[in-house]
Symmetry: C2
Subunit: 331 residues, 2 copies
């Protein structure tokens, strides 16, 4: 009886204190966003799906949000971070592969011709990623990535790549988390690569990173110890129509909110929208050359085609203008 | 200041009340287990990895446990539940495929010859599963499975298959959950199949089910609505050496505890053991024909070979005897 009384006391105190705190903390959960239609869409979505009694209420366990990474959560220009890593790896591996000097696409990389490198096609890029991401164990790969991230700097902002995250998007992740949502990264980038830093920079743990993945081979190393070796063979490509498939494989639930920035995210947003009830579809549009970059239909990396813009307008998806919607870009 | 004072009050009350409750609830977290070496191994593992200051302490976010399903969490004899489902589907689909009457392995199924069906090899079984699990959308498949589970009964126990879970293993999952562990199913069974009921019967949500998976195709159905169609093509086989690869793909962390019951789980346990610090490796050994089934080296389904038993003994893995370690088998 004594314990029961104590519990009643705690409940009463909690009842009095918690709403006061919540009101205080949530006064503006998105301080880096300018007021307007876009910000309001996020606030309305969260209110509609998390308020008990709302016709669009979603139970906590089903609250799933998916975020593309490159161009949606962090800078993807002038080259995808992971691709810069791959280029550096090729240079490191070159002494063991003198034949690369005359073998494209490796010869292009070794030439150092930046313009030519930026023009490499997806097939060449895939070849470079496959070679630079394999032939070692999963644990060794993580260590190589960790070391590279510790020293590599972005050519324009002169900061580590992991510092170039979008502050307004971090606020969206935090706001969703505070409202019972689980956020996943769904990226065309390499799953094993992004998992090295996702928890540190986005507070998204490795098991919530869905990405392009290679095959691994189980084997026995020194002393008969189990090892997983990365093979230069693709298991799944998590881009375009591959994104809904990867979401189904890795999560097994349909997202209620999806965030992207390019043609690679179109199907993920369609798949999200096709679910029952209220859903949130958003696309970051890079239109701020001064603070970051400005690119769209013409861009090879992170292409936001005119066709996608038309679809977004027709379906009433929310297009985020970096210039108009974001007070700051970086933390 | 007033709120701060209230918080201090709550903290003091919580400090007094919570340990008293914990002691009460955890008096025996594994009541269906007989006292002995096996039960003690589970208790010791949890204490060692969750007690602050312990040399083997594991932070909450890294507390991952993986469970095989068939034969580890529920009955797999005389046939895997999913295979029984597949057989029933083949019979339903037969009118559209009259050629099956004379085409093995379909003809074997349609003959109804139970002994011949139980002797089908893995390749034939894979063919049957592929055909019965494809040609529809992911959502349609879930509905078909749901309807089948609602009426199908086990031939010996005359209960729904989902009622034939092992009570002692449910207690292990609950005990691990109460101690901050996240439990995953890692099964050679179909991921989409197991996800239909895993939350209901094990309290393991779909995103924590890792299984054999087929490819899916993103397409547009009626009214241009997004759909994912299941293809009769395998993406990954989550068995034997495929289990560590699937764990790496789907979770991205190494488990601290792994539970299996057959040769299909050997590599998962080796992979678990190869991690740093204290790990728990357990194998259910079915030696109780009276209450359930007795099988081992000779069995085609759920084979627990003599070689695996030798490895388990050499590595000091824990072998669970259904007869000796479990007070009850079913809830």
């Amino acid at each position: 009886m004594k314990i029961k009384a104590l519990f009643i006391a705690i409940s009463i105190i909690a009842f009095l204190v918690v709403p006061a705190m919540a009101a205080d903390v949530s006064s503006d959960p998105l301080p880096s966003w300018n007021d307007g239609k876009t910000k309001q869409a996020i606030l309305d979505f969260v209110a509609a799906t998390t308020t008990k009694g709302s016709p669009d209420f979603v139970p906590t366990e089903a609250r799933i949000a998916t975020f593309d990474q490159d161009g949606t959560l962090f800078v993807e220009k002038p080259l995808y971070t992971e691709f810069v890593f791959a280029l550096d790896q090729i240079k490191l591996l070159y002494p063991k592969h003198p034949e690369w000097k005359t073998t494209p696409p490796f010869s292009t990389i070794l030439s150092g011709d930046r313009a030519a490198i930026e023009k490499l096609n997806p097939k060449d890029m895939a070849k470079i990623v496959a070679v630079s991401h394999s032939g070692m164990t999963v644990d060794q790969f993580k260590e190589v990535v960790r070391q590279w991230l510790a020293t590599a700097k972005h050519p324009r902002f002169h900061k580590p790549y992991t510092a170039l995250v979008y502050q307004p998007m971090l606020e969206v992740i935090n706001y969703l988390t505070a409202n019972g949502y689980k956020s996943y990264i769904v990226t065309a980038g390499g799953q094993d690569f992004v998992r090295v830093y996702s928890d540190d920079i986005y507070a998204i743990p490795p098991e919530r990173v869905v990405g392009t993945a290679g095959q691994t081979k189980y084997t026995y190393g020194q002393g008969g110890k189990s090892e997983l070796v990365k093979l230069p063979k693709v298991l799944m490509v998590d881009d375009k129509a591959g994104k809904p498939s990867a979401i189904n494989l890795m999560i097994g639930r349909r997202p209620y909110a999806s965030f992207g920035n390019s043609d690679g995210d179109q199907q993920m947003l369609e798949w999200t929208e096709a679910g029952i009830g209220k859903r949130l579809m958003m696309l970051v549009h890079h239109d701020d050359a001064k603070r970051e970059y400005s690119y769209g239909n013409e861009s090879k990396i992170g292409r936001f085609s005119d066709a996608l813009m038309t679809e977004a307008n027709q379906r009433n998806w929310n297009v985020i203008s970096v210039k108009d919607d974001w007070k700051v870009v970086f933390p």
